[in-house]
Amino acid sequence: AQTVTQSQPEMSVQEAETVTLSCTYDTSESDYYLFWYKQPPSRQMILVIRQEAYKQQNATENRFSVNFQKAAKSFSLKISDSQLGDAAMYFCAYRGDSNSGYALNFGKGTSLLVTP
């Protein structure tokens, strides 16, 4: 099974500043999907951004963008102009293949604290 590693259990950022959350993964596939999910205290799982491996262009969704380095198997999330509402647990995930029913493999998560 593919492994997803988030090496930062906790991160802190000041309001209006920029923060980058790290994620690395291991796979032998050439075409795959990667995701970042946000989980606020409500426990809801919210899709933040997705990246398709065959697309070299980094995905962007408003203040959220990724730095996808396919050769290095790195998929970091950058949050610009951080807001108090960005405080949450963030999970990086890799979509498995048909052998696992296309299930998502999640990292252990990074807890993001946003300070005023």
Binding site: Q6, R43, E52, R95, S100, Y102, A103, G109
Partner: protein, 115 residues
């Protein structure tokens, strides 16, 4: 649309008791999944189903059983609950193929405590 509905939302069990968690989706999705979430461990796949009548083991299947008798429902059973099964359980579903805008739809989770 209700999306993915999990029942119950909270439950407390005693060791050795049994229970069933129900996941229902109204989006005609083929794929359904059960995950558990523990502090510092992320979400781990318990079992999954690729269609009505099918089930398969995920990463942490021990102590759990599942059934998918109807396409819209995916049941997760604990035959003899153990304290190690204290966790938050998430159900999720997706369409047959992950086309460009497809995504995984999650339920709101079930907090289970086993004493």
């Amino acid at each position: 649309n209700a999306g993915v509905t999990q029942t119950p939302k909270f439950r407390v069990l005693k060791t050795g008791q049994s229970m069933t968690l129900l996941c229902a989706q109204d989006m005609n999705h083929e794929y359904m999944y059960w995950y558990r979430q523990d502090p510092g461990m992320g979400l781990r796949l318990i079992h999954y189903s690729v269609g009505e009548g099918t089930t398969a083991k995920g990463e942490v299947p021990d102590g759990y059983n599942v059934s998918r008798l109807k396409k819209q429902n995916f049941l997760l059973g604990l035959e003899s609950a153990a304290p190690s099964q204290t966790s938050v359980y998430f159900c999720a579903s997706s369409a047959t193929q992950w086309r460009y805008n497809e995504k995984l739809f999650f339920g709101s989770g079930t907090q289970l405590s086993v004493l």
